[in-house]
């Protein structure tokens, strides 16, 4: 069985641009992984994301070299219709990805487009809404919802299409921390229940590192770091690449308490305090 995503020496330049937006990028992603993609503004993250779900090259053309393989199939050769069923994309602004006047119609949008028969559509819509905890909002109009609710509606619409991989483009940037952490919990739950793979672009790492398996960093179109969250965050180049390293990680690295933070997990402030207590007791 092929990897769910395999990016092989992929480069892309927009028409008329001087430099490459993405430069010789390699990435292998396994099923059910949660990967954070980070890097300073303008490093090429948006371009890379759009190359995975097919907007590049189907909607945006340019100089394209290398290969992006989604479940073994080349994105360049697959139709948007096929790709939409394999890769879901949650955009940053919750407002500009909800089209219909009612929540359940919007969740069904993709399925209507694909010509899914009514009964099956109903089932998938109800399932997606239940999973995202928005069944009670089914008949509401989008302008009556909070930003957090809108994000869930959009995500339900994406999940209803049952993609194996979901891309989230700065999903929490407009949300307050509590709502953001609820969304992050939901992502983890969906990964566990459906086995969905997630690639998340975020600046706010402190929330995501709790559930992510890997952290991949881009700079000027190139991949510069790729490893466990701990390894990457404690790399001395991390801050230079604009990563917002959580205070606890910075602190722990300086203290050399290696066994508290391992490649497996990033400790919370409370956990670090416990560790300090036990050592100075």
């Amino acid at each position: 069985m092929p990897r769910i995503l395999s990016i092989q020496n992929f480069s892309f330049r927009y028409p008329g641009a001087q430099r490459l937006a993405v430069d010789s990028f390699d990435l292998e992603v396994d099923r059910s992984e949660i990967i954070i993609l980070a890097g300073p503004s303008g490093c090429g993250k948006s371009t890379l994301l759009r190359s995975i779900n097919g907007l590049i090259p189907h909607m945006y053309s340019g100089d394209y070299s290398g290969a992006v393989l989604m479940d073994g199939a080349n994105v360049r050769e697959e139709s948007m219709r096929a790709l939409a069923q394999k890769v879901g994309f949650l955009f940053q602004n919750p407002e500009n990805q909800i089209f219909m006047f009612s929540v359940e119609r919007d969740v069904a949008f993709g399925l209507e487009n694909l010509g899914v028969p009514r009964e099956e559509m109903r089932r998938r819509v109800d399932e997606a809404m239940a999973q995202l905890g928005i069944t009670h909002l089914a008949r509401r109009a989008p302008h009556e919802l909070s930003d957090g609710q809108k994000q869930r509606v959009a995500l339900a619409g994406v999940l209803a299409m049952q993609p194996g991989l979901v891309i989230l483009d700065e999903p929490t940037s407009l949300l307050d921390p509590m709502t953001a952490s609820e969304l992050v919990e939901l992502v983890d739950k969906i990964r566990r229940e459906n086995g969905t793979t997630f690639i998340v672009v975020e600046h706010r790492l402190d929330l995501l590192v709790r559930i992510a398996d890997r952290l991949v960093v881009m700079n000027s179109g190139k991949k510069v770091l790729d490893g466990s969250c701990w390894d990457v965050l404690t790399d001395e180049r991390a801050e230079g690449y604009g990563l917002s390293v959580p205070a606890i990680v910075k602190l722990e690295k300086g203290l050399n308490y290696h066994d508290v933070g391992t490649s497996a997990r990033i400790p919370t402030a409370a956990q670090l305090a416990e560790e300090v207590n036990s050592r100075t007791a």
Partner: protein
Amino acid sequence: MNWVAGGFIFRRTESAYHRLDPRVKLLLSILLFTLAILSRSVLELAGIIAFVLVLSGVAKILRRISRTAAFTLGFAVFIFVLNFVIGRDLLLSILYAARFVAIVVSTSLFFITTSPDELEQVMNAFHLPRDIVFAFVTAVRFIPVMLLDAIQIMDAQKSRGLEMQKGNLVRRVRNMVPVLIPLVVNSVIRSGELAEAMESRAYGAVPKPTSLNQYRSSLVDRAVAVGGVAIFAVAVYTFYFVLPTQL
């Protein structure tokens, strides 16, 4: 601009009228509208307006329709004065004014009681191209969003010293530029983002998309439709063959 908003924007309400098949609601409004155009006396028009008010009562939107009618009266008076001044007969001028009010309220009745989803259903029933129907539905969905944007833009520009309430007409029009440009720019950005989202959700993948909800007309709907046409026929007969003209 509030009377426009009040008169033509859908507000979710529970009533027997709202529950009618939207095609029937459209039919009723078209019949009333046509009747208003065909009428030749003020008495008939008064009858039509009264009928609209009765339907509005059933639809529990009497207040809104009355308000729309009241605001329309202003324009109606204007039409009356204009006609009178250019030499038309007094009664004829009143007729034109009354006809205007009747037309507006019968149209308003349809729009206030029909949700955008139902509007979409009606448009699909007329086999309008999918892209047009989709563009319409999406536009309606974004009206509240754009209104909010406009307010936020005005807030931002007022905070930079822009006085929107002062100055003569020329100045005030010029002061709209810092509001209109960001509004337009934001709309363009929004369109781009929507396009990406549409593509990502396979818009246009199949020529005939399926639909989540099924729309079937019930016996009540058909009865109301037939009843409406019957009343229309009777009214036309009465207007043209029974009542004297010029009243």
